[in-house]
């Protein structure tokens, strides 16, 4: 990758005996939105806090905007924006005042009015932060991270605990950051969030990156077998089925609704064999379904302990 904004090689971090991050490599390109996806305790926040300059590391090389984050400088802090996990606002300051406060810390801040409209809080500019809804507070958090006009933005679980409509709102706003030319590192444990926002997704589990790709191709989703399922027709034993793919039959002989699941790498050919076999015997294939593995399946497989 030419001129990466973030580059990580062999990053390690332990808390006492517990190895939270076990040697990860990762690069984030300019103006890219990278999603780091993983269950709680996967090492996402630890990794991100090392990149943000909050935590030291035990091993590996890390560069963020050309600087080692273990030695943060004021000039470097000017160029990054951070949204921490969980809201961090002064409840008695209004939306506009909160932004003015943080704007004063930067040498070239973005105008406060502009930030307010970027995060869609025009109606609430004069409202105190403590009186905003959860979704609005989170948007103010993002606004504060944007007010210094950073090149790189860290968003740690920006929508955890949101209802679906607040989540959709937040997604629209984060997608809008793409137009500002920001590089974004987003951590989340929601699959749909990574899918909706990220150009590329790195899946973390137990301190390592287990997969890294575009949301479409994640985890070799393209090459995973397709599943064919149907109800085993009455009077037919499992050994009478045509031999295609890897078949498994669910349920006891004589019981009701025994389900056949066939995993196949060549769904077109195997389906033809199956349906020809059924037509010949005039058998209904009740509940016939052909399914590609969902991103959910891939994710659960990747992060299974």
């Amino acid at each position: 990758m030419p001129d990466p904004v973030i580059s990580i090689r062999g990053l390690r971090k332990s808390y006492g005996e517990f190895e939270a991050v076990k040697g990860i490599d990762l690069e984030v390109g300019r103006e890219e939105i990278l999603g780091v996806l993983g269950p709680n305790g996967a090492g996402k926040t630890t990794s991100v806090e090392i990149l943000e300059g909050y935590l030291g590391r035990d091993g590996g090389e890390v560069e963020v905007l050309g600087v080692d984050p273990a030695k943060p400088t004021r000039a470097w802090r000017e160029k990054i924006g951070i949204v921490l996990q969980g809201t961090t606002l002064e409840p008695t300051l209004t939306v506009a005042e909160s932004l003015q406060l943080y704007a004063g810390y930067y040498s070239n801040p973005r105008p406060v009015e502009e930030v307010i409209s970027l995060v869609g809080l025009e109606e609430s500019a004069g409202k105190r932060a403590g009186r905003l809804s959860g979704g609005q507070q989170r948007r103010l958090d993002v606004g504060i991270a944007l007010v210094g006009d950073p090149e790189l933005l860290f968003l740690d679980e920006p929508t955890t605990g949101f209802d679906p409509s607040a989540r959709r709102h937040a997604w629209e706003m984060i997608s809008g950051l793409r137009d500002l030319g920001k590089t974004v590192l987003l951590t989340t444990h929601y699959l749909d969030e990574a899918q909706a926002l990220a150009d590329r997704v790195a899946v973390m589990s137990e301190g390592v990156i287990v997969a890294e790709d575009t949301p479409e191709n994640l985890g070799g989703r393209e090459s995973l077998p397709t599943r064919i399922t149907f109800v085993l027709p009455e009077g037919i034993g499992p050994d009478e089925l045509p031999t295609i793919g890897r078949a498994a039959v669910d349920g006891e002989p004589g019981g009701e609704a025994r389900i056949v699941m066939i995993e196949t790498d060549d769904a077109v050919e195997d389906l033809q064999i199956l349906t020809a076999w059924a037509l010949e015997r005039n058998l209904p294939l009740a509940g016939l379904e052909v399914k590609r593995p969902s991103l959910e399946d891939v994710y659960l497989r990747l992060t299974a302990a």
Partner: protein, 256 residues
């Protein structure tokens, strides 16, 4: 932006936050005044024989001034910095280009300005309602005591955050430290009523020394300039110890 402008910027917002927070307005600004009115009402026109027939109301002005400065500095900073730490605000501030010392300076500046304001308010109320004289001739001693004490108790307040684990624990711990010492040091009860052994115990702690220095400055019977260098030195040494502990143990990230 120059450092001075940055400190003023921070200070301006901390002032806003202070006056908008009902708890800080009540405990820091109103409660000392209420204490003065209550004690003055209870003890009325009593005179303290052991202290050269000093009117009790005149005694309570430096006593409540001491309490007000400690509230505005040590208690306020320990409480508000703990709340800000647990809310993630300190961590967030640390992630910006704002230098750490400016972050602290804005809050210390606020504590000192509130202290000065409270000294003026309590002194003026004492003069207007109870005829407690304003010690114009010992003003240098009063001002020196105020600044040495305010700075020292700010350091102690910042150091205290290290032993306060959560926002809920903040009032309990600050009260546990200050309330008994207010009683033992002659703040709530005139020192003429307190046994010598208790006073010499209280002398090990800076609240007693701070009060003695204020008392010398305010007491109309004081001969000379009113400077109590010995007491001020004790207060300053405590402050210095607080500063070193604060530098060593202060943390920016939430404990929970």
């Amino acid at each position: 932006m120059s450092s001075v402008r940055l400190v003023l910027h921070e200070f301006r917002f901390i002032q806003k936050v202070f006056w908008r927070n009902p708890a800080s307005v009540f405990f820091t600004a109103l409660l000392p005044v209420i204490f003065l009115l209550i004690f003055a009402t209870i003890f009325g026109n009593d005179k303290i024989e052991k202290l050269g027939n000093l009117p009790t109301t005149t005694y309570y002005v430096p006593a409540i001034v001491t309490l007000a400065v400690i509230s505005a500095t040590m208690v306020s900073l320990a409480t508000n910095l703990t709340i800000a730490r647990e809310a993630g605000l300190l961590k967030r501030g640390r992630g910006t280009p704002l230098p750490a010392w400016v972050f602290i300076a804005g809050r210390v500046g606020n504590a000192i300005v509130i202290s000065v304001l409270m000294v003026v308010v309590v002194t003026v109320i004492g003069r207007v309602l109870y005829d407690a004289p304003i010690p114009w001739e010992r003003l240098p001693a009063l001002i020196t005591t105020l600044f040495v004490g305010a700075a020292s108790f700010c350091c102690l307040g910042i150091a205290m955050t290290a032993i306060i684990p959560s926002r809920e624990a903040a009032p309990a711990i600050t009260n546990l430290i200050t309330l008994p010492l207010y009683f033992l040091s002659g703040i709530f009860i005139p020192e003429s009523e307190i046994p010598d052994g208790v006073l010499s115990f209280a002398n090990h702690f800076p609240i007693r020394d701070f009060f003695e220095a204020f008392f010398a400055a305010y007491n109309p019977n004081t001969v000379g300039s009113g400077f109590e260098w010995g007491d001020l030195a004790v207060v300053a040494i405590w402050g210095l110890a607080g500063l070193l502990l604060a530098i060593r143990f202060f943390r920016w990230t939430p404990r929970h």
